[in-house]
Symmetry: C2
Subunit: 382 residues, 2 copies
């Protein structure tokens, strides 16, 4: 299968450059093939058919949107967490506290890929009733890309918000200690004839996945992404393996890293302190081989979701027409020399999804090897 697809991709002009860069290190799979395999892995772990289907859809939405670090490349990581009994394949996810506009959800150590859509749906139902819904989640695990959950609001004519804490890799401004995760924020806002506004970003200067790409290419990192274990600027893309840390958005104090640090902290507090999850340096690590932190102050990872019904503010039709106007005006803002146009948050991911649905999803050969090994464990063929 991969070789046929390869041919298709090579004849697709938009992807040619992409392929020429990566073909030696990757294989291309059609979405459906990855879907069937991933779905069967989750079922083999003991997930219900429904849970396996939603987990697969959420996980692969990352691959479709070009956020390769959060997609199928993580599948074996989830399996290892399940093997280590840190993930419960048959969780009893439930609301443990609520008001008309809020809820706390306990994920029962389930896959974040399943817990998060449940919690976001709770937020959406509350928004239907009282205008907005806000849900903080404890006792969960890695939930894939934040953007998927935020975008669930769109079809309901709502604004969607999603964030999560994550294992600590990031130092606060003036520190060398790992205190925060890359703690992403996603906000999805519907428009009328224009595509929606979808922001989805780590609150660090660069996400860890970008460092991994540089490591594979054996290239240095730009100054401002990482510091070494003493707090010196570094261009070593492998710095995290040597005790270094990621820097908050802004890179250094002079360029506003205290703002990135504040943003990452807000995500941590909304997701974990508000819900009773484990926060800051105590957030549970994703790699199953890393021991759990001592004296964890809460249960599992935390997430935070929001849904705001547009017509709780003004009519959806009016709002969406103004969003079209907003988007069109920003797309037509005068570009800087060397740039064709100004992008709207979500543009690159949406364009990537069109290409990858048509031409397949490239998977690094090292990831393919891992997937084959996981398949062998469950008697499944990729």
């Amino acid at each position: 299968m991969p070789s046929n697809l390869f041919h298709i991709v090579i004849n697709n002009t938009r992807s040619k450059k992409f392929v020429s860069l990566f073909c030696a290190m990757q294989q291309i799979f059609p979405y459906d093939q990855l879907y069937r395999f991933t779905n069967r892995v989750f079922i083999s772990m003991g997930c219900s058919d429904t849970d396996a289907a939603i987990a697969t859809k959420v996980l692969l939405s990352a691959d479709l949107r070009g956020i390769d670090s959060h997609g199928v490349a993580r599948l074996t990581g989830y399996v290892r967490l399940w093997e280590a009994k840190r993930i419960n394949a048959t969780p009893e996810i439930k609301i443990v506290h609520e008001t008309p506009s809020t809820a706390v959800v306990d994920g029962d150590a389930g896959l974040g890929l399943v817990v998060a859509p449940y919690a976001m749906q709770v937020a959406i139902e509350k928004a239907k009733n009282v205008g907005t819904g806000w849900v903080s989640v404890r006792n969960s695990n890695h939930f894939g890309i934040a953007g998927y959950h935020a975008m669930m609001a769109l079809e309901n004519d709502m604004i969607g918000i999603a964030m999560t804490n994550a294992s600590a890799l990031v130092s606060p401004t003036f520190s060398i200690e790992r205190m925060l995760g890359t703690n992403p924020i996603a906000v999805a806002i519907p428009a009328d004839t224009q595509p929606p506004f979808v922001a989805d970003f780590a609150t660090t200067t660069a996400a860890n996945g970008k460092l991994e790409i540089l490591q594979r290419k054996n290239e240095p990192a730009p100054l401002g992404w990482v510091q070494d274990k003493e707090g010196n600027n570094s261009t070593d893309a492998n710095e995290l393996k040597k005790g270094g840390t990621l820097l908050p958005l802004g890179s250094d104090r002079e360029h506003g890293s205290h703002k990135g640090y504040a943003l990452g902290s807000i995500v941590d507090i909304f997701s974990a302190v508000l819900s009773g999850a484990s926060y800051g340096p105590w957030a549970p690590p994703f790699p199953a081989y890393v021991p759990m932190p001592q004296n964890m102050p809460g249960e599992g990872l935390g997430h935070f979701f929001g849904a705001m019904r547009i017509d709780a503010f003004r009519t959806a039709a009016e709002f969406k027409q103004h969003m079209d106007n907003w988007i069109t005006r920003f797309r037509n803002a005068a570009p800087a020399a060397g740039h064709e146009k100004v992008l709207i948050p979500g543009d690159p991911e949406r364009e990537m999804e069109v290409v990858r649905r048509a031409s397949g999803i490239p998977v690094a050969t090292s990831v393919v090897d891992e997937l084959v090994a996981v398949g062998n464990r469950f008697g499944l063929v990729l």
Copy 2:
């Protein structure tokens, strides 16, 4: 009066360095003196006693907290907007649409300093009833520092959120056009015995006020704060006067400026598109001499406020104990070489407030001259 205070400040060790840097260009005033003067200016404009009192308190909270660009230095700007009939001193502020957890407030072109606390109070009342309250505001003006409004939530055991759009000075990533304001976000989170977590920051790498300080000192700006009108990096602190623009938090694409651009956009959309205010490049300018944009798509400036009752998620006592733990842990994070300790968002402003309440507020002599002129206009003595 100023000379006595000066003496006090010089004998205050913490402020010595500060005074030695600025004494030639500043005068020191006790808070009460600035309060009485500012309050009488607002009353002279026609504000009610109640409105003048709240406007004065909000405005001077910026001076107390060390955000000098947003305090009494702006008073003459408000007067000029009132003279230009862009500010209504006797507004009929009202809720024009609401659900149990949301409202849209029309500020009737009032002082943002008055409209914003009104709207934040609406958010707080809604949170009392249904757990959270979210208020989008149109037809307002500059509202002082976002942090003041967010902090109104604290005494109610709530998390407070405040943001506003502002006149366009910032280019999106890949653009040279002024499309967004510095669009600040403030989030205030209560703790128990520790002081609250209070983040309050512009979504740009540096706020305009920091450039103004460099201009006064005739010093260059760090690379990454501004670009010239062609989109080239610049260290000219006067670049904005030559058609250049401020850069979003992150400075350039490689360092995450698309994230700062997304954040500024979210603030613009929540504040102005959701409420029916004027957004993006059409946001009304603060300087009264700048003509209003053509074809404005909404009314005035927009703000957005949120209040979340802590016990809509978990008991306030439990949450605040964990916030104490969070704050203490982060304060004790290993510092980088050359730094004594890690700060919590809000620390510098709170420390500044202690100093300035005790020792007075320094006001640039150019600002003092303006205040004296405004006083003369109304027959008031500073």
